[in-house]
């Protein structure tokens, strides 16, 4: 099994377009699992018209108080690094579950063991299939801050089934923070998708820094390519000793396919396929 992760730093550069198109193309000759790890804004199922089935609820632990035991000492609030607990001296603690990351410091700190665990729903894992490929996706409940827990739950589902596949293709969120890092870990090769603007270049530089820090092999894919306008990205690739792996042209047909929910077909995707098989 080879895991390929599609990322890019900047939003809207075409991560999902590349991930879905490549998955469908690889699926013609191989067993492929496509994973949408953009749990903030999952879209791959929309692009491929996949009906998803909810297979798992993702929970996070949170503390609860036994106010008969609580002596209102305020220790729980003192140790909470995410400011999820407020204590006004002599009053019962106020708990903000949205801020809690479930670390457990409050429970350890309580001198009278007034705290115990309960769980809250923070997201879901879905499965589906279409175009000859299997699909797993995660989705964070809105207003929940810890995306990485849902990404982790998705990764657990991948672990269970990955041996069945030749390729596992993971599509990440935009940005460079914890949920993207979680999705990138343990990947064999990262594909950084960018666009020929200074913003694309700026964010490409950031995601390459992250990928290098994680010690992962990577390639650069340029989307919305137009002849003569790719100097910035060519130079960025050169700085990292790379050539641009593939250039996806700026074509109306590609944008229309995207907006209709049809996997994009283009020679550039064929090229990516050839190179990742090698």
């Amino acid at each position: 099994m080879k895991q390929i992760t599609v990322t890019g730093g900047k939003g809207g550069t075409g991560k999902s377009t590349v991930a879905t198109a490549l998955a469908v193309l690889l699926g013609k000759d191989y067993k492929v699992l496509l994973v949408d790890a953009d749990v903030d804004c999952p879209n791959d199922h929309l692009l491929l018209g996949i009906k998803r089935k909810k297979v798992k609820i993702v929970y996070q632990r949170i503390p609860k108080w036994d106010f008969n035991k609580c002596i209102k000492c305020g220790k729980c609030a003192e140790v909470c690094k995410t400011h999820a607990i407020f204590v006004v001296k002599g009053k019962q603690p106020i708990f903000l579950p949205q801020q809690c990351n479930g670390c457990g410091a409050c429970i350890l700190s309580c001198p009278v063991k007034a705290l115990s665990w309960k769980k809250k729903e923070i997201g879901f894992v879905f499965k589906g299939k279409k175009h000859g490929i299997d699909f797993i996706s995660g989705e964070l409940k809105v207003n929940e801050p810890v995306s990485e827990f849902v990404v982790n739950a998705v990764k657990k589902e991948i672990k269970k089934v990955e041996s069945k596949y030749d390729f596992v293709l993971v599509d990440t969120a935009a940005g460079t923070h914890c949920d993207v890092i979680e999705a990138l870990k343990q990947t064999d090769i990262a594909l950084a998708v960018t666009e020929p603007t200074p913003l694309g270049e700026h964010d490409l530089e950031l995601i390459i820094q992250l990928i290098k820090k994680l010690g992962i092999k990577f390639e650069i894919i340029l989307n919305r390519f137009e002849e003569g306008k790719s100097v910035l990205i060519e130079a960025a690739a050169k700085r990292h000793g790379k050539k641009i792996m593939a250039k996806i042209p700026y074509k109306k047909e590609i944008m229309q396919a995207y907006s209709k929910g049809v996997p994009v077909r283009d020679n550039s995707i064929e090229k990516i396929k050839r190179l990742v098989i090698e």
Partner: protein
């Protein structure tokens, strides 16, 4: 100081382009300051043509701590390994010692609490830099950038906003450009806002992500409006977005036609409203609608 936040859920729909031009339009009659709260991949200053090296000041900040082990004191009891909710501590059987993964450590402080030998300490990490610079357009932009592999972007967003307030005490308005997604940095950007503009595009992803992003503003009880960018690329979906807006009592602030000059302006690092003066009327209208919304908020 009132805060106007631009968000979108989906990335690449035109948040920063629109935020920059909106800021310029607002600055004609108001004293404003801009805060780039996409601390994962900060781009707003670039859209104004302001490069990082031309900022007046950058400073490293710390909003996070991470656990460090004093190996000499460790007795190999594994209590830290079992207690970490973030799987940041694994066990090295050869060395009979725990190994700390700094990418996963949240700095929650549980492992120092359970360590019987006091071998683990929390140490502050410089996980981000924040800075400010003067744009060509008579106002400042404040940016933040998380160091690669560091966590705590929500807290960095709060620091960027704080610096914006310090740097422009007399500003009437703060224009905030948020990150893509709906996670903690976006929640931190929206928190404390007076009005939110959700930018979207007429695609299934655009609409799906718009709905998710607007649930955040509903949660906070913040008034919001919608800008549909590239609306003429798919009129059927634009209708769907308009229907969603009317069902949820959300105002469509503007519909912007697809215009190749948006990309050309980005390439030249010139805000679109300056690059293509035809768009001035459009942005003046947007300003009017925002002001209406801010005033009715007040009542």
């Amino acid at each position: 100081m009132k805060q106007i936040t631009i968000l979108s859920g989906k990335g690449g729909v035109g948040k920063s382009s629109i935020a920059a031009s909106l800021a310029i339009a607002l600055s004609k009659k108001h004293k404003i300051v801009c805060a780039d709260c996409d601390v994962d991949a900060s781009n707003l200053a670039l859209v104004f043509g302001l490069k990082e090296k031309n900022f007046e000041q950058w400073k490293k900040i710390s909003t996070n701590e991470k656990a460090y082990l004093n190996e000499k004191k460790c007795n190999g009891c594994k209590k830290c390994v079992d207690s970490c909710y973030f799987n940041a501590i694994s066990w090295n059987e050869k060395k009979k010692q725990p190994v700390f993964d700094s990418f996963s450590c949240e700095g929650c402080g549980v492992c120092p609490m359970v360590c019987p030998e006091k071998a683990i300490k929390l140490v502050e990490v410089k996980n981000a830099k924040i800075g400010f610079g003067e744009t060509k357009f008579g106002f400042k932009v404040i940016s933040g950038q998380l160091e690669m592999g560091e966590s705590g972007s929500g807290k960095v967003v709060a620091e960027v906003k704080k610096l914006a307030k310090e740097q422009a005490e007399d500003a009437e308005l703060m224009v905030i450009d948020s990150a893509a997604g709906i996670g903690c940095p976006v929640i931190a950007s929206v928190n404390g806002s007076d009005f939110v503009i959700a930018v979207t595009e007429p695609t299934s992803s655009g609409l799906s992500d718009l709905k998710r992003a607007l649930q955040i503003t509903t949660h906070f009880g913040i008034k919001s409006g919608i800008i549909i960018n590239k609306f003429d690329l798919n009129l059927e979906f634009t209708k769907k977005i308009e229907f969603f807006a009317s069902e949820n009592n959300l105002e469509i602030i503007a519909k912007i036609p697809y215009d190749k000059s948006f990309v050309d302006a980005l390439v030249d690092l010139i805000p679109i409203v300056v690059y293509n003066p035809k768009l001035e009327t459009l942005f003046t209208k947007i300003v009017k609608k925002i002001k209406n919304n801010l005033e009715t908020n007040h009542k």
